[in-house]
Amino acid sequence: MMDATAPREPEEPLIRFERFTFRYPPPVAGAAPVTALEEITLEVAAGEFLGITGSTGSGKSALCLAIAGLIPQETGGIIGGRVVVAGWDTRYTPVPQLATRVGIVFQDPESNLVGLSVEDEVAFGPENLGIPPAEIGRRIDWVLAVTGLAHERLRPSAHLSGGQKQRLAIAAVLAMQPQILVLDEPTAQLDPLGKQDVIAAIERLRQQLGRRLTIVLVESDTELLSRFADRVAVLHAGRIALEGAPRAVFSRTEELAALGVRVPPLAELAAWLNRALGAELSFLSLNEAEAALARLLEQRGPMGPNDHPPLRESREGHRAGRTSQLHRASAGAFTAVSHQPNSLVDIQDVRYRYGGVYPALDGVSLRIEASEFLALVGPNGSGKTTLAKHCNGLLRPESGRVLVDGQDTRITRVGQLARTVGYAFQNPDHQLFLPSVAEELAYGPRNLGLHGPELRARVEGALERFGLVHLRDRHPTLLGRGLRQLVAIAAVYAMSPRLLILDEPTGGLDGRTTGRLMAALDELVVEGQSVLLITHDLRLVAEHARRVVLMHEGRILGDGSPREILTDEALLEQAGMMPPTIARLARSLARYGIPPALTVAEFAEALLARLTTSAPIPPREGEPA
């Protein structure tokens, strides 16, 4: 893999940022340039796995572009200092030449590919570099094997899933045999399955190439970074705010939160326990956490027989309670609700096929009432978005019917239904087209016939709720991705819908913006509006939703409280999903009497209670007494 001709000394770092500053060209003529990176000094050794994280707009992507030389060569803008990659100054080395040392993969699967068949896509880079065809053939074999795409060799890339496309993008740059692989949030737009596949490919790469490949991975999913990285750097406002080994960086949970970074749940748990117990716990992986906490529980728990029965009871009681609750949920839907005049949304045995051919919904029934916080989860292609689009009439059922506040969607216009149901799409760029944030927010209410003080009040309310007041006159399309997302959601919120649907709203958001959004949604539900959240982020679901609907292959697989659905490993597995980290940890410690838990707070409290009440450890099932 390694190219011995690399023009550098063996000890020299492979990537070196020397007080590197970059400012984007001003978005509109006459405005000030936008600072992306400020005085970055950073060295990456050959073979290192460097993780980068930070809030949106902190400069993570700019750092990637700078390593590949795309900054400044393709972007323009003002630079100071320099970046040296494999001995080459990126200011003067053309990008195609740098491409022989640096491979880069972007977040959006669509923009990573030229659009050929899998094999030709991989061949494209080496062909441009003038590699002999026989050698290209050998490289294709290897990169397709390592990314798990060998059996897709002749398929058109357009027919691949998002996860496959990202693996193909990785394969395509690997075929150019770079020494450095730069991955800019490669899994941010993928469902859990696609994400796992990409992670598995990175793992295989690490196994097969070891230190011969240097990897720079940008991720907002810090859990992933804590698993892979040798070293982590946290960016903030274009500077490196924190840097060090993952264990050291992720233990500084308060600083991370202040920097707008989502703290990995296990690190958050460790910090919580350390505060409460004065301990010095630190764990990055599930195995580590399980081992450490098991030791703690075994040490602390002096065993007495008197605590035994309540524990059993609580475990069994939980199980019994769950079945009865599930039962209630399905039976109660008819008895209790049918007395009420109208459900907010009433979906009755809906079937739908795209183009009349491809089945998407296969007999789905669902009622949404006022003041619900409902999360819709499931793998890509399970029918989540299709179902959501039935709630506001964008799609109309082939059979069955959908009533929105009693109105049949088949005979009501989308514009009319928009009074009741608001729908914020996944990509904010699909919604924003007006020259200021305030005008963007006024668009929807104005379409509903509002004007004058009433309209202004709506706009002000939305600006405040989402913390956008200071951005009122800014041009939405020139804001960062996270803020564009908030504007798009606020624009739908301003219409004051009784049900607000959000399709994957947190994909491009950092910890702080996600927190702000979720807090706003929680408030809405308290005020009596309903929220339907489509997401892959089970941690968010665990912390905020009150009801979870799990979809798989166009059907509803489960419908219940977050506790019922998210701790049901077998149920989730049917949909190719796993319980959230904390739920898995709680389960693995169940033999110590830890009850099922979903959130860090819940788990920590249960664990602390366990440690202080000094309860006994019941024998493990199937274990000889």
Partner: protein, 264 residues
């Protein structure tokens, strides 16, 4: 879920394997003949032959039906409107005030519709069995600059993507109360915001794509290689020779002897 915009059906039939340059040359010749002919029986024969070849190449029937569905409105329009504007011919089939329909005009309309259908399916023989890479490669080998060929590839690939973007943007704005009138100038005006948002998205995507191309070595100062270049096999030469012989014979008969120039 995106609709299909490409006509190519992957396969490994003799027609798929035939060198794309041969396919391009023979399809062009066939298209020329079809354009010259007015004879209903000949056009019908050409159409039937095209379908027979597609069948032999195991081209999916669903896609053939799709092409017919797409062509149907145009073909029907031609058959209906042609006789209204064409007053040639003696035999009057219908006379309703100023509206006179002659038998010959009816047949001419039919022939024009058939010509368009035959032309479409002749081209389908080429486009339906040639993947994008071979298509571009054949054009490059026939003299098109590589950069133009690549631009074509990318252009083709982004048609469905942009169609999807447009669709999504339109849905997103309808969900915000945008009322799209069913037709007419008012609909076009109402679609303006959709165009703006779709354009912004398209620009963002194309910027990223530019980066991807540079990072994949496009523009490297070396001679580009090709994983699998086109190579004429003996059977390709044979097909070319036979096709050209038949094609030119028909062309000679058409131009000199007047084959197929009359309606019947």
């Amino acid at each position: 879920m995106s609709a299909r915009y490409d006509l190519y059906a992957p396969g490994n039939s003799w027609l798929h394997r035939l060198d794309p340059r041969v396919k391009l040359i023979l399809a062009t010749l066939a298209a020329l003949l079809v354009l010259l002919w007015s004879s209903l029986p000949l056009l019908l024969a050409a159409l039937a032959l095209a379908h027979l070849l597609l069948m032999l190449a195991r081209y999916p029937r669903g896609l053939v039906a799709g092409v017919w569905r797409a062509l149907a409105p145009l073909l029907i329009l031609i058959v209906v409107l042609w006789p209204i504007f064409d007053r040639r011919g003696e035999l009057i089939v219908l006379a309703l005030g100023p509206l006179i329909v002659t038998g010959e005009a009816l047949l001419r309309g039919l022939a024009t519709a058939l010509r368009i259908a035959a032309l479409s399916f002749t081209l389908l023989l080429w486009l339906g069995t040639t993947d994008q890479r071979s298509l571009v490669r054949s054009l490059v080998r026939l003299g098109l600059p590589f950069s133009l060929g690549m631009a074509m590839t990318i252009g083709l690939r982004f048609i469905p993507t942009f169609a999807n973007v447009f669709q999504t943007v339109s849905e997103a704005l309808q969900a915000r109360g945008l009322d799209l009138p069913p037709r007419g100038l008012r609909r076009l005006r109402a679609m303006l915001p959709i165009l703006v948002a779709a354009l912004v998205t398209a620009l963002r995507m194309s910027e990223q794509l530019g980066w991807t191309l540079a990072a994949r070595g496009v523009g490297a100062p070396v001679r580009r290689t090709t994983l699998r270049d086109l190579a004429m096999r003996p059977v390709d030469w044979l097909a070319l020779a036979a096709g050209l012989a038949a094609g030119f014979a028909l062309l000679w008969l058409t131009l000199v002897e007047g084959l197929g120039r009359a309606l019947r």
